[in-house]
Symmetry: C2
Subunit: 217 residues, 2 copies
Amino acid sequence: MTASQFKSAPEPTLRRLPRYLHLLFRLREGGLEDVSSTLIARELKLDPTQVRKDIEYTDIVGRPKTGYPIEDLIIAIEAFLNWNNTEDAFIAGVGNLGSAMLGYQRFKKYGLNFVAAFDTDKQKIGTQIDTIPVLSIEKLPDLANRMKIKFGVLTVPPQYAQFVAEIMVEGGIKAIWNFAPCQLKLPDDVIVENAQLTQSLAVISRKLHEKKILGSD
Amino acid sequence: MTASQFKSAPEPTLRRLPRYLHLLFRLREGGLEDVSSTLIARELKLDPTQVRKDIEYTDIVGRPKTGYPIEDLIIAIEAFLNWNNTEDAFIAGVGNLGSAMLGYQRFKKYGLNFVAAFDTDKQKIGTQIDTIPVLSIEKLPDLANRMKIKFGVLTVPPQYAQFVAEIMVEGGIKAIWNFAPCQLKLPDDVIVENAQLTQSLAVISRKLHEKKILGSD
DNA sequence: TTTGTATTGCGAATTTTTTCTCGATTTTAT
DNA sequence: ATAAAATCGAGAAAAAATTCGCAATACAAA
Ligand SMILES: NC(=O)c1ccc[n+]([C@@H]2O[C@H](COP(=O)([O-])OP(=O)(O)OC[C@H]3O[C@@H](n4cnc5c(N)ncnc54)[C@H](O)[C@@H]3O)[C@@H](O)[C@H]2O)c1
Ligand SMILES: NC(=O)c1ccc[n+]([C@@H]2O[C@H](COP(=O)([O-])OP(=O)(O)OC[C@H]3O[C@@H](n4cnc5c(N)ncnc54)[C@H](O)[C@@H]3O)[C@@H](O)[C@H]2O)c1
């Protein structure tokens, strides 16, 4: 592993990488072999320099005039995000959102492989969703430990989120993707990423509001 | 309306406002009347100055020693995001994710009110999800125009996203909350917010990967 | 009343992120 | 072979966001 593989990229960069990946897939399907930062930037409405700086983090070097080899770039970005290795994951809360995520096959392509789901609802325990078994939440810590699960997805109502998160930590889970609109208090060595839709909604809500106040129409 | 109501807040600020709101609700339930930037910062692991700067955008003034009145702050943030007025919205794509969102009652509290859903699947057309009718996508433009819908949620597979987005624009929709992992090409006056889960996943994936490479355990 | 403490709000400093500039390099066309 | 066009990569500059420092203020306790 090279030194730069250890170098952490800024969060804005991390957020752009999947966008590059989606575009690269599309370009590859279109039969293209190389891509320039100029093209990526135009497609995604970014600055070409920014695209180049982002790509630097993945250790891929481009060639003047032709740009970057798409295949290599895809592999490098996937490796950078560790999406070439699927990470086994548990999900807690098999409600609206939890079920939707379990039914989303594409997560495997993003390195995420659900191996078990957990709930408190007796109606749901014992069933399967797309071959993933739904188990009692009580079984989570022990099973997580034994299966060495490091990744947990939290899709329970906010009032139970802290409790369930602690159960996950008890099971040795080191990264929690939290969809509940609340702040989890966990040991510092546990990575928490809040995938809160309300944050995204706030951005678009405000922009539409501004448009209505100021807007031309 | 004051001048500052027109002032646009930076996106990072917009993203933090819902987090403040969630905390404020919790504090209010706990019977608290005032809150300081210090407390908010400690709870959400932010810098107190940053919290104060964010709150400034909402036109709320605090008092030394006591902080901000929670009730007023809630109202101000909601007003800033226009979450006190519910915005009627259409959603296209009643699959895993679309159904989950339709079933999520709390969106009303975030100013979002689904009035109709659209799909191409004949099995789904004509049904209802939580009192919201599922209609043929063909009816979207005309109905959007007549109902003066400005907000559209896009939860169709990526290969149809551009097509459906254009249909929305045809119907006069001005803000599209896009969940498909692709870049939409639309007129500049249409607000597009990409709520891409993969972006959030990228952040946590990389962090866990780094932890594994460097990590103490 | 006075003193001590916690807090706001604002300007300055710092850090982070984005954008600009430009020389070097590679390919294509003449 | 030479010129023209397009791109990368690196360092500088600019812009944006965060954090610092501190005076002014409100409140509580002595
Ligand atoms: N559905 C959405 O579109 C949406 C949007 C934004 C945020 N969210 C958030 O995502 C989370 C899930 O939302 P949802 O709509 O799926 O809710 P939901 O009520 O449909 O599902 C919650 C599930 O969690 C289970 N649960 C409750 N307590 C549990 C526990 N202690 N252990 C394990 N499972 C438990 C419930 O039995 C239920 O199956 C919530 O925090 C919600 O705020 C959802
Ligand atoms: N489910 C998830 O957890 C998840 C996570 C991340 C991203 N996404 C994205 O969200 C989108 C929806 O995902 P999903 O899992 O719900 O997919 P899905 O396949 O379950 O649902 C898609 C729905 O869109 C409908 N549809 C197809 N073409 C249409 C058209 N032209 N007009 C109207 N409706 C049309 C389909 O009939 C289907 O009901 C996809 O773009 C997906 O990549 C989903």
